[in-house]
């Protein structure tokens, strides 16, 4: 694997709070070129917030973030042209057709029109969507939408990718394609920031895992390193251990008993 010491992204003492609630508590992180970072944590741990900060969707925070050696608070918006993003809930202007949407996005990234049309039609064809180029996205299924968003995040050949649950809605075959794409991109020196709740996938595709809980990074290393540290077998178990969660059996028991408690009324 082609990994280098070139720092692509560095987060220094970043904190963020909404009113009284502290979402991120002085986070530090350095990401190197060619890494696939599995960025995991329980709901509400601050994962999306971090990603949104790096993208400039959230602009007010303490500390500094440098991407490609540019401080994003002061360095202008140019750094964004080397970034691709797949948002978590498939948010997209869906009254447009894929070609129209991708023309817009590609254009914003400074691509010319011929290049966009050319790339779009070929990429869409690879995803089996060649018939849908001129159909409104609003009529697409979740998986088809996700494919359009994945294309939109990659069309300008970015060097840094932020993916928020990129596989959601995809069928098993498409998932394999996307996972393979990610691996090949990383091999060619792209850096990928991958957040997901599906631990099996994170375990397999990431070469570095960062676990965030309560606004703090509690683990950072390769899967093997985490295994050794925590003496657990799977990432799921490591996750449970590090987030201090060991009551899934008790809660499930209680849940089922509450569900069943109405039975004697019937």
């Amino acid at each position: 694997m082609c990994k280098s010491d070139e720092v692509v992204l560095s987060i220094k003492n970043v904190s963020k709070s909404y009113g009284a609630t502290q979402v991120l508590n002085s986070i530090n992180l350095e990401v190197y070129k060619g890494q696939i970072i599995g960025y995991i944590g329980p709901n509400g741990a601050g994962k999306s917030t971090t990603v949104k900060m790096m993208l400039g969707l959230i602009t007010e925070f303490e500390g500094n973030i440098e991407i490609f050696n540019h401080n994003i608070k002061t360095g202008g918006a140019a750094y964004k042209s080397r970034i691709g993003y797949v948002p978590e809930n498939g948010e997209i202007y869906d009254s447009l057709t894929p070609l129209e949407y991708l023309s817009f996005v590609g254009g914003l990234y400074g691509m010319n029109n011929e290049e966009i049309i050319h790339k779009t039609s070929e990429l869409m064809e690879l995803f089996d969507l060649e018939d849908m180029l001129h159909t409104r996205i609003s009529s697409f299924s979740k998986g088809m939408r996700q494919k359009v968003l994945i294309i939109a995040s990659l069309i300008h050949n970015p060097d840094l990718l932020f993916l928020d649950e990129p596989l959601s809605g995809l069928d098993a075959n498409s998932m394999m394609i996307v996972k393979e794409i990610l691996e090949q991109l990383a091999n060619q020196g792209k850096t990928i920031f991958y957040s997901s709740h599906i631990m099996d996938v994170v375990e397999k595709i990431s070469n570095r895992i960062v676990l965030l809980t309560n606004g703090e990074i509690v683990a950072d290393g390769s899967f093997e390193q985490l295994q050794q540290q925590s003496k657990e077998g799977s990432l799921e178990e490591i996750f449970n251990q590090l987030t201090g969660f060991d009551q899934h059996k008790e809660i499930a028991n209680q849940f089922v008993s509450i569900v069943r408690s109405g039975d004697n009324n019937v």
């Binding site: 948010e91 202007y93 914003l108």
Partner: protein, 542 residues
């Protein structure tokens, strides 16, 4: 242990539902599970009271039912009904009054409640539960009815009280009944139109057709209103009514006839026919609706289906303008984007196209009205071409709606993409509005005006266009305080910025008057044009 439970139990109840409780027996007679229906309604009203905050202004959350908060504007508009309550020419006055009422109820029905009528999410949530479909449908109709009642009361409340003092108790009671009939009629007619369309189309095509029908309905309401006014000889102060066959298709005249029969005691064959229609048709419509509901529910599913291949839309017009009026590359991208959003956003078209139709029609209606006083020759020589300023009314409507999108969350792209100066997006969006919607209207009107008034109005037309660009820029500035184009939800759109919208309409008059005054002096038009040109250059620079 379960604080949630407590919160659920103390959840506030709605007054409208308490009133509804009084009619419990009627629902139970119709075999509707009343407690269940009440439960559904309760949740729906609760949801209506919570509108989503916008993505960029997270802090500024608006709470409370936005529709109810906008009622005062209906109350204000209702005041225009009052003049029709004086005098004894009921067939004339009440027909006009009822066309206005019908117009207001119908347009708000189409633009605000169609989504309730055509809600497919309901199916996922409610139809998977053990509830009788009849109950679900009743809940749907009652949900809309509650709002229609609020709207009607706000709109006709003050006029009704005026009527009570002026014409007495009988008038008041007859009015209550007639308003009820007309509400039922509008609600059911809209539903029946949707049912018919759903039978014949599916998928995206269906949504397009529904969109066009909605636009068509609101336009026809405007035209219908003119027709009612015209079916009476208004100029002659002794207003005479002569029956024409097509009056049987004009519901407002049915109700006018009812008033004339009851209040003036006029009884003749035509009046009886008209009055009977006014009472019988709502019931027939109701019966028809109940009969059609099952197929309606089945066909509603079609809204979710997805049909075959689509062709690429041609837009040589926008390409031409992109070359003519847009320079920078990033601005071109926003221009294309905005043009396509305007073309594709159905909610946008629904809210804006009716005002475009008015912009096209009203200048001529003004001229035609003038024909009563003067001959065509006199008009051609005169200043009536200033009526073209009326077409400006499409600008505030169109510009205001540029803030909204049905998928406003897609606006993350503005922040995630490397955009150096977001102001480009504003200018490009406004230019796209001009190219896509205003310029065509302007060209059509100009052509016809040149034919009517000869080429002497050419300088006027140029001055008007220069005014329009200044005016639009002002509108944009007023409406887009903090928002970005297509970045807020249409759901919050309906009740917002009504004050600004009225102010902008008033500003049209100012623009027209300035132009008119400039026209009086020699060289006035040239100075006026030059000033506008300079202002344009200044305000369009950024």
């Amino acid at each position: 242990m379960f604080p949630l439970l407590e919160a659920v139990i103390t959840m506030s109840d709605f007054k409208s539902l308490k009133v509804l409780d009084k009619f419990k027996f009627a629902f139970q007679k119709a075999n509707i599970d009343y407690p269940m229906m009440r439960e559904i309604l309760h949740i729906k009203l609760l949801m209506d009271a919570r509108r989503v905050p916008t993505i960029f202004n997270e802090a500024k959350e608006r709470s409370g039912n936005q529709f109810l908060k906008s009622l005062w504007i209906y109350a204000l508009m209702g005041l225009i009904l009052i003049p029709f309550l004086f005098g004894e020419h009921f067939i004339f006055q009440m027909s006009i009054l009822f066309s206005i009422v019908m117009f207001i109820v119908m347009t708000s029905m189409i633009s605000d409640f169609s989504s309730v009528l055509l809600d497919v999410r309901d199916k996922m949530v409610l139809n998977t539960k053990p509830i009788d479909p009849k109950t679900i449908n009743a809940a749907k109709v009652i949900h809309i009815t509650i709002y229609l009642v609020f709207l009607s009361v706000a709109f006709v409340g003050i006029p009704l009280i005026v009527g009570l003092f002026n014409h007495g108790v009988i008038f008041f009671l007859v009015s209550l009944l007639c308003f009820m009939f007309i509400n039922i009629l509008v609600l059911i007619l809209t539903a029946i139109v949707y049912i018919t369309i759903l039978r014949f189309f599916d998928g995206e095509k269906l949504k397009d057709i529904i969109n066009y029908i909605q636009i068509l309905l609101s336009i026809s309401m405007v035209v219908g209103y003119q027709l009612v006014a015209r079916s009476f000889n208004i100029v002659n102060l002794d207003i005479s009514y002569t029956f024409e066959w097509w009056h049987t298709f004009m519901p407002p005249i049915w109700y006018g006839a009812i008033y004339d029969m009851i209040m003036n005691g006029t009884v003749n064959q035509t009046y009886s026919i008209l009055a009977t229609l006014g009472i019988v048709v709502p019931f027939l419509a109701l019966a028809l609706y109940v009969k059609l509901i099952p197929s309606f529910e089945r066909n509603l599913e079609k809204l979710l289906t997805n049909s075959g291949k689509h062709k690429k839309a041609k837009d040589w017009w926008m390409k031409l303008f992109s070359q003519l009026i847009v320079r920078k590359k990033q601005e071109k991208i926003f221009f294309d984007f905005a043009g396509r959003m305007i073309r594709n956003e159905r909610d946008y078209k629904l809210k804006v196209y009716p005002s475009i139709a008015m912009a096209l029609a009203f200048p001529f209606i003004f001229i035609i009205n003038d024909l009563i006083l003067r001959t065509m020759e006199e008009i051609r020589e005169g200043n009536m071409y200033f009526a073209m300023y009326v077409c400006f009314m499409m600008i505030p409507a169109g510009v205001q709606m540029l803030q909204y999108s049905s998928t406003e969350k897609g606006a993350w792209i503005y922040r995630a993409a490397p955009i150096e100066d977001i102001r480009v997006s504003h200018r490009a969006t406004l230019k796209a509005f001009f190219a896509k919607l205003f310029i065509p209207v302007y060209l059509i009107l100009s052509l016809i005006f040149l034919l009517i008034f000869s080429e002497r109005v050419a300088p006027f037309l140029i001055g008007l266009l220069l005014s329009a660009t200044v005016y639009a820029r002002i509108c944009y500035h007023i409406f887009f305080k903090k928002s970005l184009p297509f970045s807020e939800s249409f759901k919050v759109a309906q009740s917002k910025q009504t004050g600004e919208a009225f102010g902008m309409l008033a500003l049209i008059v100012l623009f027209g008057v300035i132009h008119y005054v400039a026209n009086i002096f020699s060289y006035g038009l040239i100075i006026h044009g030059l000033i506008l040109l300079v202002v344009n250059i200044l305000i369009w620079r950024k």
